[in-house]
């Protein structure tokens, strides 16, 4: 488990949980053009040893824009299965509105 968010941008905190074949990235905060870079680098770090399954916990995401979507999509090529866990209403809406419900399915 590694806390990779923090003082850089207090609006976004990211935590990586790794267990067996599954890696969970807990996203806590707003994901926009200013913070999505952090999410992207966190995903890169989590995929250094590609897990069988990558899960984004989006339960604490009050705002998600297209740059955040782009960051989430960057995981697609490297890992077999990408799932969304407990998306907040805001995150769910954005994923549905951009036609990504099948690409980034909920668990």
């Amino acid at each position: 488990m590694a806390d990779v968010g923090g003082p850089d941008d207090p609006r976004l905190e990211l935590t990586i949980h790794s267990a067996d074949d599954e890696t969970v990235i807990v996203v806590d905060g707003e994901v926009d053009i200013a913070t999505s870079g952090l999410l992207r680098t966190t995903i890169e770090r989590a995929l250094e040893v590609p897990p069988g399954r990558l899960v984004f916990d989006l339960s604490a995401v009050p705002f998600l824009d297209s740059s955040g979507i782009s960051a989430l999509l960057s995981a697609l090529d490297a890992v077999e299965s990408v799932k969304i866990r407990n998306p907040s209403p805001a995150a769910k809406l954005v994923i549905e509105a951009t036609g990504l419900s099948e690409v980034l399915p909920c668990e």
């Binding site: 824009d65 297209s66 740059s67 960057s74 090529d77 209403p89 809406l93 951009t98 990504l100 690409v103």
Partner: protein, 527 residues
């Protein structure tokens, strides 16, 4: 060149300031040393003068005894006089001659003598009489200069206090012909060159003794006078060493040296720092130029990619707006386009490539021209999106594009809309605004084989169709639902012509304050 000259002049200023400070400190230290030396010299000179005064009793006391003896024996006891004075003249110390003088037939003459003949006797009688006459009238030691010739002497006369005076005791002491004075170690004269004069004038004729032949003394010097019998002695002194010690004397030089070294190293340091700063500034300026060039290239590219003139479609008014993000550094990947097709149809496109900067703009360009190509072949919106996806290769970096594609039948007002992950369009009709229910497929560039389906509907007359990118409604701190609802209301409220409607919406949505870029395209059916 101006940039290069700056460090040198600043370094020069540092050097000048350093030298001025060094000079001032050196002068201040020298002044302290100088005043200290002056004070010490004055003090030492006064001490030396006091020592000269102390010699007086050793002259006065034996002469006093001789005078008393002469009075007591009426000047006849030559043997006692010899016994008294012999020890004092035998070794020419302190006297070379001693005698008793008395007034004989109106003139002063020696009546008893011990040692050699006095030099006084070789002087004129009138001068002798005047000297002794003066002696009888004072109780102090009379001092008479006999400094001329090869055997310089000083004469001393003394009379007993209490009148009448009949006998005068007289003695002469020798002074070295070269006036050379030997200074004992640890005496008050140590470290001083000095010259002793009889009287108050510093002239060779009055010189009694001196430690040096280089007279008068030069350089830093001090004078002190002390009473000596009925005249006075003056001592002029000049230091041969630093009276206050060598450290204080060397201090100005040490201060100067330290100051110069400090100035030199300060100058070197400042010079280096300035060079480094100049280098950094040059670099920053070059970077700023590069950035400005890049931005300008990107903006030029983006504006060249957006249609500067939309095609004229009979029966329709079409208007577009593009607004770069408020920060304006990176360009975005938003675009809109209108393509007239052959068979009484025209196609409108609004798209948004994720990310910013030149890469996003480049992808946007390739997508835009690909769509124009597909449209000219008569492809339907869903087919266009499918072909677009197979064309797109975004390197798996998560870059994608949302695209809304709508085909308008000019005759009937029928529209066919396909959507690749894009915000739905708004239709404004009769003061009501609603989002068109489109089937949202995956954005272009996300999956290998997406499926796109289109919806078809017919617009009423005077209806306005609005397609846009998410910059128009997406706002920090709220869900897109809230933002979309606000946009819907703004659209419904917008009055008048299409141009006015676009302006009002952009104003109400605060697009000018948003970081993201925004594109909006409106189509109004007039017939």
């Amino acid at each position: 060149m101006e940039r290069r000259a700056k460090p040198r002049s600043t370094t020069l200023v540092v050097v000048i300031i350093g030298l001025v400070i060094t000079g001032a400190m050196t002068f201040a230290t020298w002044s302290v040393h100088d005043s200290n030396e002056k004070r010490l010299l004055n003090q030492r000179t006064r001490e030396a003068a006091a020592v000269l005064t102390a010699a007086l009793p050793s002259i006065q006391t034996p002469l006093g005894s001789a005078a008393v003896l002469a009075e007591a024996t009426d000047g006849n006891d030559a043997q006692s006089f010899q016994q008294l004075m012999d020890p004092l003249v035998r070794n020419h110390q302190p006297f070379v001659t001693a005698s008793i003088w008395a007034l004989v037939s109106g003139h002063y003459r020696p009546i008893l003598t011990a040692g050699t003949t006095s030099k006084m006797e070789s002087r004129g009688q009138s001068m002798i009489d005047a000297f002794f006459q003066r002696s009888t009238q004072t109780a102090t030691l009379g001092v008479f200069p006999l400094l001329h010739g090869k055997d310089p002497r000083l004469g001393y006369s003394y009379t007993v206090v209490g009148a009448p005076v009949r006998y005068i005791a007289y003695a002469e002491s020798a002074i070295p012909a070269d006036r050379k004075e030997v200074v004992a170690k640890d005496s008050p004269f140590t470290g001083l060159d000095n010259a002793i004069y009889l009287g108050k004038r510093e002239v060779p004729a009055a010189l009694i003794a001196a430690t040096t032949r280089a007279l008068p003394l030069k350089g830093r010097r001090a004078k002190a006078s002390v009473a000596f019998g009925d005249t006075s002695l003056m001592i002029v002194a000049s230091p041969t060493t630093e009276l206050g010690g060598s450290l204080l004397a060397d201090l100005p030089w040490i201060v100067a040296l330290v100051g110069l070294v400090g100035t030199a190293s300060g100058a070197v340091l400042v010079d280096r720092l300035l060079r480094r700063r100049t280098h950094a500034e040059d670099l920053a300026a070059r970077n700023a130029v590069l950035l400005a060039e890049q931005r300008s290239v990107a903006q030029t590219l983006q504006h060249s990619l957006l249609p500067d003139r939309l095609p004229h479609i009979p029966g329709f008014v079409i208007g577009g707006r593009y607004h770069a993000g408020a920060e304006g550094v990176d360009i975005g990947g938003d675009w809109y386009d209108v393509v007239a097709q052959d068979d009484g149809r025209f196609l409108i496109v609004v798209g948004d490539v994720s990310g910013r900067g030149l890469p996003a703009a480049t992808v946007m360009a390739s997508l835009r021209f690909a769509i124009r190509a597909f449209a000219s072949q008569g492809d339907s919106p869903a087919v266009i999106l499918t072909k677009l996806n197979s064309l797109a290769d975004f390197d798996g970096d998560g870059r994608f594009a949302t695209v809304l594609c709508a085909a308008f039948e000019m005759g009937t007002g029928e529209i066919t809309v396909a959507n690749a992950g894009h915000p739905p369009p708004i239709v404004v009709e009769g003061g009501q605004a609603r989002f068109l229910d489109t089937t949202v497929g995956t954005p272009v560039g996300v999956v290998a084989e997406p499926h796109y389906s289109s919806v078809t509907m017919t617009l009423g007359r005077q209806a306005t169709f609005l397609a846009f990118t998410d910059g128009l409604f997406e706002r920090q701190g709220e869900t897109i639902q809230v933002g979309m609802e606000r946009l819907r209301r703004s659209s419904a409220d917008a009055p008048g012509t299409l141009e006015e409607t676009l302006d009002v919406i952009i104003e109400k949505q605060g697009v000018h304050r948003v970081k993201d870029d925004t594109a909006i395209l409106g189509v109004q059916w007039l017939t």
